[in-house]
């Protein structure tokens, strides 16, 4: 493997592990704030115990989120140094603002949430919890503004003198439609994760007949919060589909295995086996018109297919080749008006010209084969996207059903929930994580071959490190993260099993005299 593959592997691994902890933090922070609000409003200590107990699990998860988060911020500089130089003028700002506006607040209040119970009034502590939840979400906002810009880079322009992209409109970057849709979709997915987590563990207590009042109340809060969040994820997911149809046509075509442009409105493929060789989808089960409706909100607009998109890419690569050559001439000292004027005409395709550097060092004399190869690689592989997208949707729908049933039984105030529902909830525990990881895979793999959509190819974005350097870092990270995740899961399981008895208040089942002997 070369440095590009290794750097990508390291980024993918660290990002995916990081995102095991982020969604739970996002969701739990709000659940804790809701539980504590009920405590402050009703004065019932069981809600304080709920806040403290679920807070313990939140803390175990949060620690590893912080640990894996540090790697994320450093990694752009360490492993993606050309990326950092080339787009830091735009991309760095939301990251810095995230730290200043959100992460500082979140981390400072995290300490007060745990250690401030006896030192703050009820109301002040509640304010701390809410602000912590708010900061967590603000954090997500800025990270997704940054990520949204990678998907759909607007509000910026290439500067040939400084050889990088520079910011022209910060409000465009913030109100990037892709970023806004992604933000709501992603935080909602986090809320769903938190809700499934609380619902599944509470269901386990109910199945075991333990700590019933505690478990029922947790179940009720999680089911209401979860239902609202699951609906929001799905509606916003649909909105993402519309944004893709608008600005990320390649990703949409790959996700939907749209090999060719068909007459409008496009059909939605529910199931099938994408076949890269024949550029068709075998055994396809299609629903007419649905994709057209999702992606274009009309019945007359076409959804572009991959083969037609590649034809466009061919044209852009040829213009990009010229742009790249002119850029090199300019930087070598040819600052004639002719060069500058022509460059300005074709500079929008410079990124496409850069694609050629993966196949030849001499872009000016790239052969027809090089260009054909670049065109072929200008779209991501279809089947990984097709499948991960469908896995995400299936998990999402299943969780929506779960929350609908759970909410129904909570609202009816069924004292003994049906066992099938409790088991359904318990076995749904991995679903939000599978959905989150699959979703991020679609977003990031679907952006390939670009690090910054149509601006900077991934292969150029890496740091010029040695293969052994990256093997060292990747190997160590894999070993360390594996150990950390095992420890985290073990502690999480241990404390979930212990339940509210972990608080040592003397009120819960495992602490009562009858059970002390048993335990």
């Amino acid at each position: 493997m070369d440095i590009v593959d290794l750097s990508r592997l390291q980024f993918a691994f660290t990002a995916m592990i990081h995102f095991l902890f982020v969604p739970l933090t996002l969701g739990m922070a709000f659940l804790l704030a809701i539980m504590e609000s009920v405590y402050v409003m009703t004065g019932k200590t069981i809600y304080r115990d709920m806040t403290k107990f679920w807070g313990k699990l939140f803390g175990i998860n949060f620690a590893l989120g912080v640990t894996t988060g540090i790697a994320m911020e450093f990694q752009f500089g360490t492993n993606w140094s050309y990326y950092s130089h080339y787009v830091g003028d735009i991309f760095g700002a939301p990251l810095a603002i995230e730290a200043l506006m959100a992460f500082f607040l979140e981390s400072t209040l995290f300490g007060l949430f745990f250690f401030g119970w006896d030192r703050l009034s009820k109301e002040k502590h509640l304010a701390v919890t809410w602000l912590m939840a708010l900061a967590t979400n603000l954090s997500a906002l800025w990270i997704l503004v940054a990520n949204g810009w990678m998907q759909h880079p607007i509000g910026s322009v290439f500067n040939i003198d400084t050889m990088r992209m520079e910011l022209t409109s910060f409000s465009d970057v913030i109100f990037n439609p892709v970023a806004q849709v992604k933000f709501v979709h992603t935080v909602s997915a986090g809320y769903v994760t938190g809700a499934v987590f609380v619902l599944a563990i509470s269901s386990w207590y109910l199945l075991k007949g333990r700590d019933l009042p505690f478990a029922r109340r947790s179940f009720a809060i999680a089911s209401a919060f979860g239902l609202a969040s699951a609906l929001s994820v799905i509606v916003l997911g649909d909105e993402s589909g519309y944004e893709l149809g608008d600005v990320q046509k390649v990703k949409l075509a790959a996700v939907e295995a749209e090999w060719h442009t068909h007459p409008a409105p496009a059909a939605f493929t529910v199931f099938g086996v994408p076949n890269e060789q024949t550029q068709t989808t075998d055994y396809a089960l299609k629903i007419p018109a649905v994709l057209g409706l999702i992606a274009t909100r009309s019945v007359t607009e076409e959804v572009a297919g991959l083969s037609e998109l590649k034809e466009k890419h061919l044209q852009r690569i040829i213009r990009g080749q010229e742009a790249y050559v002119l850029m090199t001439q300019y930087r070598a000292g040819d600052k004639s008006p002719a060069t500058i004027n022509r460059f300005n005409e074709v500079s929008a395709d410079l990124g496409y010209g850069m694609l050629l550097t993966a196949y030849t060092d001499d872009v000016a004399n790239a052969t027809a084969e090089h260009i054909a190869q670049a065109v072929e690689d200008s779209v991501p592989k279809v089947w990984p996207l097709f499948w991960s997208f469908r896995i995400m949707v299936a998990c999402g729908v299943s969780m929506l059903v779960l929350f609908a049933a759970a909410f129904w039984h909570s609202a009816k105030r069924t004292v003994d929930k049906p066992r099938w529902l409790l088991k359904f909830a318990l076995f749904s525990l991995p679903l939000p994580w599978i959905a989150c990881e699959a979703g991020w895979f679609v977003a990031e793999y679907g952006r390939q071959p670009w690090a910054i959509g149509e601006i900077l190819p991934t292969h150029l974005a890496v740091s010029q490190l040695s293969v052994s350097d990256i093997w060292f870092s990747l190997g160590t990270i894999v070993v360390l993260y594996t150990i950390f995740v095992i420890i985290e899961m073990w502690l999480m399981t241990k404390y979930a099993r212990l339940g509210p008895s972990a608080l040592h208040t003397g009120k819960y089942d495992l602490e009562s005299p009858a059970n002390v002997k048993e335990a």
């Binding site: 949060f62 620690a63 912080v66 500089g77 130089h85 810095a96 250690f115």
Partner: protein, 378 residues
Amino acid sequence: MDYEALRFIWWLLIGVLLIGFVVTDGFDMGVAALLKVLGKNNDERRVMINAIAPHWDGNQVWLITAGGALFAAWPTVYAASFSGFYIALMLTLFALFLRPLGFEYRAKIDSEIWRSRWDWALTAGSAIPALIFGVAFGNLLQGVPFYFDDILRLHYTGSFWALLNPFALLAGVLSLLMIVNHGATYLQLKTEADLKARSEKLSAVLAPVCAAIFVLAGVWLFLAVDGYSVTSLIDTNGANRTTDKTVLISAGAWFTNYEKWPLLWLAPALGVAGFLLCALASKTQRHISAFISSSLAIAMVVLTAGVSMFPFVMPSSTTPAHSLTMWDATASETTLMIMFVVACIFVPLILAYTAWSYFVMRGRLNEQHIRDNSHSLY
């Protein structure tokens, strides 16, 4: 405000963030590094950990923010330093991984071996970054072997082992010791009885040692480390022309700023004075003074490194013309302006709620308090 002024402000702001990091995260790193040194038993170590427990996470965000601000304000410096010092940065990262887990997980299992492992993890997680940051500064002062190619891709030509040269190691030792000392002064404020007495003794010895190493490093820098100076005119108001200047390497060049503006001598002088005052205050049990003078000293050490190199931030030893300065390796004027406004709004807010959190958690901790709240504390 013009581009030049913004560039200068951002040099100051990056300095403020770095100083914020060493002054706040510095003491919690110092405390964690001292766990096995000053804490004689589990209760004492828990006192130490809980003295920093509510704050270490917020403190560490100074580092994250400094990283983010570097990315936004000096993208090329961020790219060059993080990828150039790759292995060193990775080792720092691995060490930093251990801290959140150590704090959060240590008290979760009642086992001596478990706690001892996490104590070591916390010690390593705090001492290693402190050491490496010093080594990195030591190398910046000597120049870093890198150059840019024609599309401004950075190529680093050195090795990890070359970073571990005598001058850089001395800087690393200074960084580690001053942070450990800073931790000890914080413990003077937050602990009682034996632990407090041990912290006082440690600072009384360590602070003068820091002062001595700092002076030694200065003399070494003057006698044996060549400095850099820009010999062409940099357009401080124009677009970055990072690779178009001419740079001269010469003996004593790191001291030209002091010749030009003698007032700058205040920085190293206050650094030395801060350490000495810290020792004195620790001896005479003036705990607040000890902590403040230690904070002053380490802030001045960072500032001294910054003003000596000004306007350089990352000189290149391979191709001096490619050295990065705070005039020609910055973000665009638009980005610097936006980030300046953001910093003006949020830095005061951060200082306010951070101060409030210290106020809420004020007071000393003792072993009895730990035993009484065994299940809710770290």
